[in-house]
Symmetry: C2
C-alpha cells in the first residue's frame, strides 16, 4: 500500500479554507489532524473534534516524551500537532492535512521536508477586504489588521510548494486534487515505480 502524504494547508482568514477543507474531506483518503491545546474549549467546541483539550501538565509531559510533530506557545497557551494524529494514518495510506499558519508551516518544513505545502490565496487583497467586510462581524480596525496579516502571509506563500487561488470554490478544490495527482507523478516520488517497471523484466 502506498503511504499517505502529509499536507500542510495554510490560508489567511477569509480565504475559504474551511469550506475547501469540508469539500476535500468528503474524500475518505483525506483526514484533517486534530490539534491539542491547553486553552479552554469555547461553548460550541468538542474535545477530539475541534481540538484535544488537555491540561498544561499533560501538554508538557507530551513535549518531554517527544509526542509532538510541532507545537508552539500562543497567547499563554500551548497548541500542537501530536504525531499520533499523523503517522499512523500516513502508514494506512491516508493523506493527512495539517491546517496551520505560515510560521508553524515553516517549522514543519524543517522537520518534515517530505510534506507537501499548499497555500490558499484570495484572488486579490481587494476581494479579501470585500469578503471580510461582508461578514460584518468585525470592526474596521480588526479587518485592516487581518488584511495586513494576510498580505504578509501571501508574500510568504512563495515558500510553499503550491499556491491555489480560491476564487470559485469548485475550481479551487479541483486544483487541490490536481496538485495531489500530479505530485504522485513527480519523478522524485516514482523511484519505487521505476524499480517495479524494470524488475518485471
Amino acid at each position: 500500500m502506498n503511504r499517505g502524504r502529509l499536507i500542510v494547508f495554510s490560508a489567511p482568514s477569509g480565504c475559504g479554507k474551511g469550506t475547501m477543507l469540508a469539500e476535500i474531506l468528503k474524500d475518505k483518503n483525506y483526514r484533517c489532524s486534530v490539534s491539542a491545546t491547553t486553552r479552554k474549549p469555547r461553548p460550541d467546541e468538542k474535545d477530539g473534534v475541534n481540538y484535544y483539550f488537555i491540561s498544561n501538565e499533560e501538554f508538557e509531559e507530551k513535549i518531554r516524551r517527544s509526542e509532538f510533530l510541532e507545537y508552539a506557545g500562543y497567547c499563554d497557551h500551548y497548541y500542537g500537532t501530536l504525531l499520533s494524529e499523523v503517522d499512523p494514518y500516513l502508514k494506512e495510506g491516508i493523506n493527512v492535512i495539517l491546517e496551520i499558519e505560515v510560521q508553524g508551516a515553516m517549522k514543519v518544513k524543517e522537520i518534515r521536508p517530505d510534506a507537501l505545502f499548499v497555500f490558499i490565496a484570495p484572488p486579490s487583497i481587494t476581494e479579501l477586504r470585500r469578503r471580510l467586510n461582508k461578514r460584518g462581524t468585525e470592526e474596521q480596525s480588526v479587518i485592516e489588521k487581518r488584511i495586513e496579516e494576510a498580505a504578509n502571509e501571501i508574500a510568504a506563500s512563495i515558500k510553499y510548494d503550491y499556491i491555489i487561488v480560491n476564487d470559485a470554490l469548485e475550481d479551487a478544490v479541483s486544483d487541490f486534487f490536481k496538485v495531489i495527482g500530479a505530485e504522485k507523478l513527480r519523478s522524485e516520488n516514482c523511484h519505487e515505480l521505476v524499480g517495479e517497471i524494470l524488475d518485471k523484466k
Copy 2:
C-alpha cells in the same frame, strides 16, 4: 498573456508516444516542434510536417548563426530543433512540445532549465515486449535491442520532472494535462501572480 511552456517529451519505442501526442495536439494550446534534418525524406514524409529537410550546408550555416536550440549528429546526418520552432510560439502562449530522446533531453535541460521534462513509461518491460511483439514487424533480436534501450531510458527517467505510465491512453493523456495544470500552481511559477494579488491592495 502568459508565456507558453517548453515541454520535453520522451518515451521508449512502443510506449504509445505518437498516439498520446495526437490526443494532446487536439488542444490548440499545444504544438509539437518540427525538427530539421539533413537526411533524405522517406516516401511518406513531408517537408515542414515530419521534418524540415535541409542540406548539409544550410544546416551548418544555421549552426554558425546559433539558430538551433539543440542539435546532434546521428548516423552521418544532423538533427536539430530550430529556435524559430520554439520561442515565437512560447511568446504567444502556446505550449511547445519537443519530442526527443533521453540524451537530447538532458542537453536541453542544461540550456533551458525552465523546460518541463515529461517521460512516458510502459506499465512494465513485460508489457513493452508484448506490445513490440504484437507489431510483428521486427525480428526478435531487434526487439530485444529495443527493450534493452528502453530499460536504459526508463532507468534515466528519474532525471525528468514527471513520469507518466501509459497503460490506458485516456488516463495517460489526462495525467499529462493534470501535470501541466498543477505546474502552473507551483509557487516558483507564481511570482507574478503573488505580485498581482498584493498589488491590488
